[in-house]
Symmetry: C2
Subunit: 359 residues, 2 copies
Amino acid sequence: MRAVARGFVFAIIFSASTLAQSGRVDLKKPLVIASQGSFFVGGEKKSNTPPPGGRGALLAAGDITVNQMYVQYQIPPRGDRHLPVVMVHGCCLSSKTWETTPDGRMGWDEYFVRRERAVYLADQVSRARSGFDASAINAVKAGAQPASALPNIIAATHQVAWTVFRFGPTYGKTFPDGQFPVEAVDELYKQMIPDLNALLPNPNPTWKNMAALAVQLNGAILMGHSESGFFPQQAALLNPSGIRGMISIEMPCPDLSAEQIATLAKIPTLVMFGDHLGDVQGGPANWAQSLESCNTYVKKVKDAGGDAVMMYLPQMGIKGNSHMLMQDRNSLQLADLIIDWIDRHVERQVKGQTAKGKG
Amino acid sequence: MRAVARGFVFAIIFSASTLAQSGRVDLKKPLVIASQGSFFVGGEKKSNTPPPGGRGALLAAGDITVNQMYVQYQIPPRGDRHLPVVMVHGCCLSSKTWETTPDGRMGWDEYFVRRERAVYLADQVSRARSGFDASAINAVKAGAQPASALPNIIAATHQVAWTVFRFGPTYGKTFPDGQFPVEAVDELYKQMIPDLNALLPNPNPTWKNMAALAVQLNGAILMGHSESGFFPQQAALLNPSGIRGMISIEMPCPDLSAEQIATLAKIPTLVMFGDHLGDVQGGPANWAQSLESCNTYVKKVKDAGGDAVMMYLPQMGIKGNSHMLMQDRNSLQLADLIIDWIDRHVERQVKGQTAKGKG
């Protein structure tokens, strides 16, 4: 097992060092889209009963829809040759995460399409175009609930973002080899929007919706980042049937039961971490500990016979990546690493299964 | 003046009746995009001072960015032959308004691109991917402000949407000639998300950001709907320099001063209203009154020498349109009407100016 893993790491280092020069696609060529659009997954009807003293007819009693997940997609021509990739953003962010980078380069959303993958961007339930359930806030406003019933809304400050996202050791300072385009950090700050996940029921409806989307797509690869880094696994624990691969970028990995690990071990898994995990002074995140917890998770999955890969980038010779590695200067190199992993670990297996099924 | 107006109405009736059959573009053909992406307009740094009793490091004191406007765009090849079109959604909605319709047809966003226009979708400030300023809610949670300081959050119910959007005379009932795809109304309900505009300063930052975007694009046509129907004008009253045309769909028109009318009269204006304005029983909207107020506005602009067109659809022989007319069954016919108006009233003028400037 160890020899295989080491061989794989060598292969990755080799491909990483050659990718930067190669350029897999012509980024300047017009983009051809077979189809695109948006839709919702999930959502339930809820009776909206405004407390006494309601304010105007738009807040009248009636039904509202909550817990729906907004999804935007683009499918390239020949997109059916590969599995679709579902991307879900992290805390205090929206699907903007995957689009044009703060310094104006192409995001992973378009790059994956140019690499012939159908891409689905989901706004987490309670965020951005998915909306949120305002009932708890309205109840406090009307005096039916105390102020303590208001949700904890996370509004990350510039100072917190700088250090949690590892742009440098302290606010305003950079790492000499840092890959994040700090000259455009103000554009990242505009992406940071209030996080209302504290309003959500348990389990988080985003997990169920991600699992349902994978089924709806007749098989998909789920990718999460940070707050949503383990969402592919949470989705798989609810319903693994549509999930063909799980990509988890920079998050703490929870301690799971043997039964849970057995379920997850059936799905190829990639975990990716950037650089400088222990080099930030203070702040609420402990990335070195997160890496350790995910090393344990990867080991458990492997021990259960699963295919799990840890790409700890500095160990592969790729230095200076921040937490927002899909926006870092070498973001497309990292996208290529992920796509190579999909081709080798997910689609080879899927094609094998298909061939077997047909044969 | 009256003869000219009547002639124009006849021309429109003629083109409307032929458009339905003609089909200006092949909707099945792959879509070719010269470039696409997303960015923010505006936004200011604000000091975030959590009240005493703050809850965890993510809510620590520091700076946040507020009032930024998220914009997503697609530019077709040869998109520079036409002015870009900026679309801004209405109350309790996001840019989803302009995308795939509830029953799965192509939205105006893609259709305008296929008709060779660059399209910019903006999420209003305080909504969707633009985020909102959570300070007021956090202050109440911490006890620094009373519950009455919470914003009035508009969460429109299914019942309110059905009647305000004129899907039928009462909830659950339809108009025999109704154009909205009511069989898919549940998908519209998922688009409806809480409206936090009550949090915004005055003037609404969306207006300033729309004006700034038009300047940034070196000239653009602004389109608004319902809550944002008059935003193109509000933007023009702040800074008209980038605004080449204004398209206002279904909203009340305010009473303006002669000076304001003089400013707006310099920019070609289209106002569009659907059908059954007086046929809904009860509800908070009075669409017949809105039409009347906009007829007055259009007349004032014309009297001031401006080019303003009222397309009151039933008067043009186009029946049954709801308030969500960009999602109605005949939505592409209406898009063609708008594009024809742009070609005749905005771009002919712009080209004339350009020719003059060059000659």
